[in-house]
């Protein structure tokens, strides 16, 4: 198989055994990018020169026998809402088109210190608001399995670049499913860690209480490997977990005998394609055959998850996005004669429709007279959802569900109807509300050859169970297909 389609852990061996150099590897990735990028549009910005000179450094580093880390010399794509010092970070928005961060996100610092190779900044839905990666100032991302279709979102760029062989692995962010849903639609692995396990410092905020950075990779082992590299306490993030961090690769055991798996009925019903449903049932059967104890469970409060999410996320976003005002950085309408006109024009011209829509919803939900009816109420219902999940995890080790109710849909298909678009995240949103870890792994292809994903949800900080189940099921499913490009 072509170098650019190998996994990070396979490449680690080759690099360490000097069967390949980081320079060759990086060149092959950029070679692939040149082949397919004009069809995929998964990058907003490429850093070829920087990457190649970095690869050269790494090669001499390896040659000199210096200790290397898991990701040393591996080409990685980073979603463009993660700050990279002196490298433009746009969030796929016109308003940040020319924004050059003065600092590195904590995750980027961690990867830099491990001498990873940054390929470029990945395309996405503007400010991570979307489920299709169509809401980008830099044009929509296409699904490598069918470029007529969306790759999912908001981490569509990272997902498509990993699926198409442009990047070995990628960093994305997940607020309501933005890592798992595109991973599912692109036939790769996506992992959203427990809220607080990976620092948010330098991740451009969408909804602070929901955002979490995580890996998009070709297999579960790579996800563990990337998680090892980016997780851990950060004194710059007050919400970051301060606990002993295990080696996540140590949980990759092909054995789920006796593992208790719950199937939340609320995530299996209405709106779910029959094809998707059948696939997930197949996977559940596999789990049983492997000795797992599978049982249905009802978590009624999950019915309200979408509503809760579309109150809390826009509310926090409306405040988080207030800073884009044309004063300190970013786009400004220069014609406006007075401050208020400048604000209004700058933000009206700088933000796309979906972002403006959510700012409006959020502002409304927080405004005088509506706070209690919407925001405060949503916080309480969110708490009920959290409590119900906790109860569920007293009984189960992991929960299993489809990642997305449907396979990749056609570009433009849901653009005119926000609500239908929002429904794409029905299975992933509850997990963010409860701050839980969850992975999406490929479960196979639909009749029309599109990837289907299953979601494995764990209790807070129980990435061990998620990785163990995902790893075992991955082996059982044995998904090996690649998109034809």
């Amino acid at each position: 198989m072509e170098t650019y389609y190998l996994t990070a852990h396979e490449l680690r061996d080759k690099l360490d055994k000097k069967e390949i150099s980081s320079t060759e590897l990086t060149k092959s990735s950029f070679g692939r990018i040149e082949e397919v990028e004009d069809r995929i549009n998964s990058f907003i910005r490429l850093e070829k020169e920087r990457a190649l000179s970095k690869a050269k450094e790494v090669d001499s580093l390896i040659a000199s026998g210096e200790k290397v880390e898991e990701l040393t010399g591996i080409p990685v794509a980073v979603k463009d809402n993660i700050c990279t010092k002196n490298i433009t970070t746009t969030c796929a928005s016109k308003i940040l088109k020319n924004y050059v961060p003065v600092y590195n996100a904590t995750v980027v610092e961690k990867l830099e210190s491990r001498n990873y190779i940054l390929l470029g900044k990945s395309n996405m839905d503007e400010f991570a608001m979307g489920s299709s990666s169509e809401n980008s100032h830099f044009g929509p991302v296409k699904n490598p399995w069918d470029i007529e279709r969306v790759p999912g979102g908001s981490s569509g760029g990272p997902a498509a670049s990993v699926a198409s062989g442009e990047a070995i692995c990628a960093l994305g962010s997940d607020t309501g499913g933005s890592i798992r849903q595109p991973a599912s639609l692109c036939g790769i692995v996506g992992l959203k860690p427990t809220y607080g396990l990976v620092s948010r410092y330098g991740l451009v905020a969408f909804a602070s209480s929901l955002d979490q950075i995580g890996p998009l990779t070709r297999d579960v082992e790579d996800s563990a490997l990337v998680l090892n590299a980016i997780c851990g306490h950060d004194k710059n993030d007050s919400t970051s977990v301060n606990k002993e961090i295990p080696d996540y690769r140590s949980f990759l055991k092909d054995d789920i005998k006796g593992l208790k798996i719950g199937i939340p009925s609320e995530l299996m019903v209405e709106g779910i394609d029959s094809g998707v449903r059948q696939r997930v049932d197949k996977v559940i059967k596999m789990a049983e055959d492997m000795g797992a104890e599978v049982e249905e469970i009802s978590i009624p409060s999950l019915k309200h998850a979408l509503s809760v999410y579309y109150i809390i996320a826009p509310s926090e976003a409306s405040s988080n996005l207030s800073r884009y005002d044309g004063v300190r950085y970013g786009y400004r309408n220069k014609e406006a004669p007075t401050l208020r006109k400048m604000y209004k024009k700058t933000r009206a011209e700088g933000f796309g429709d979906e972002v403006k829509r959510r700012i409006m919803i959020g502002t409304y939900c927080l405004s005088a007279g509506y706070y209690d009816e919407f925001y405060e109420k949503a916080r309480r219902v969110r708490t009920i959802i959290i409590n119900d999940f906790r109860k569920a995890f007293e009984k189960f080790d992991v929960l299993l569900s489809p990642t997305s109710p449907t396979t990749a849909f056609k570009i433009g298909e849901r653009m005119e109807d926000p609500l239908t678009m929002y429904l794409s995240d029905i299975c992933t949103i509850p997990v963010n509300l409860a701050g839980l870890p969850a992975a999406s792994i490929p479960a196979g292809l639909s009749k029309d050859g599109l990837p289907i994903g299953v979601q494995v949800i764990g209790d807070a900080l129980r990435e061990d169970n998620v990785l163990r189940a995902a790893y075992s099921l991955e082996k059982a499913i044995g998904f090996k297909d690649l998109p034809e490009l």
């Binding site: 993660i82 961060p101 948010r200 330098g202 409306s318 405040s319 800073r323 004063v327």
Partner: protein, 486 residues
Amino acid sequence: MGKESKYESVIGLETHIELNTETKMFCGCRLSFGDEKNTHTCQVCLGHPGSLPVTNRKAVEYAAKIALALNCRINKYTIFHRKNYFYPDMPKNYQISQYDIPLGVEGHLDINMGGYVRRVGITRVHMEEDTGKLLHTGSTGRISESEASAVDFNRAGTPLIEVVTEPDMRSPEEAREYMINLRNLILFLGVSDCSMEEGSMRCDANVSVKEKAAKKIGTKTEIKNLNSFRFLQRGLEYEVKRQVDVLESGGRVRQQTRHYDNRSGTTKTLRSKEEAHDYRYFPEPDLVPIYVEDKMIEEVKKTIPELPSEKAKRFESEYGLTGEDCVFLANNMDMADYFEESCRHYDNPKNIANWIMGDFSALMNKNKVESIRKSKVSPKNLCKMLEIVDEGKISSKMAKSVFEEMFETGRDPGDIIESRGLKQISDEGLLGSVIDEVISENPEPVEQFRGGKEKALSFLVGKVMAKTKGKANPQLAVKIIKEKIG
């Protein structure tokens, strides 16, 4: 009788105090004092995308110190909120502040108004971050007259404490006294410079007026920019008069925010209630709650020095001064220390207090010496002078002029008396011979005294004083005269 007297004003104050920590509230940038523009900023206090706040422990401790000193109840569980509104001096277009669960609540500060004590309720003491500074281009540097403005974010993120009172003050004077007392208190605590000129202490007021008899409070206006004790009183006086005039002319006071213009000494409308802000407060998701442990409260309490009120009580019991005197001394940290140091050299506290509050304070005011510490008179010398008076070496009348010289030159009272030759004649022999002369020169008064005319005695003493150019010790003179002719 002026029509104001029919009414009384109802005033509540909102004071913002910048803490003097090393670094800002939520980032590691140093606080700045008139440094070059934008030299103390980072991604956090500039509100750059992706940056996150982390709370300054010392700022929380200082805030608790203020809350405790104001007799507040500390909320064991306290959180930050976001206050959302757009203004160019706000990096994030929201201010991290506190809302329904502030650090301190239900406190009070007692203000001594001379004749009476006014207890001002403290509604809340909360923590927040300061904004940047707007510099308005154009000659006047005034917002209304400038074509553009520039923002300096050095101040953005400076730890800020907001102290909100109940509407308990009943006159501009009381409001002014409250501010003076609050400032004293915080200077005592040493957590802020409280410089109204440099804006490290800023004050807004809520004012309404009502007929003295009336129970319910009238419609209030909010007055901004009352940033000196003088402006506070003048601004409030103007606003109270304005409201009274409105009511007297049959109008109604409209709820609005007004701005005090210290040039004209008047208040002008900023915005009316209709266009009031909708701040969309909600819990700050980037910060976690603070559970104030008793341990922390105890630690903070240890760092609080003796406060004026406690000091006053102690002075009363320890030195037997009157309540009035105690409050006067205790409210001024330097004066209180000066008083106590003096008491170590000389054990007539009442006498010391009288001098400090009397001649001493008078001279200080006259010569604009703002602190007794800055005066040339050391406690030692003050006490030395008081002893000399007690020994009868000089009369208390002379003492006044001696003290004036001490105040000007800081010289030792003994030297002054020497060089001016003011020593009283207390030598019986010397005085005796003078008295003999007086007796022989004034036979009639002597007879009249023998006849029981007390007045004659004072006449004779007067003669003795005249002969000695006032240096004779009067008491001694009386004693000797009685001996000689009694």
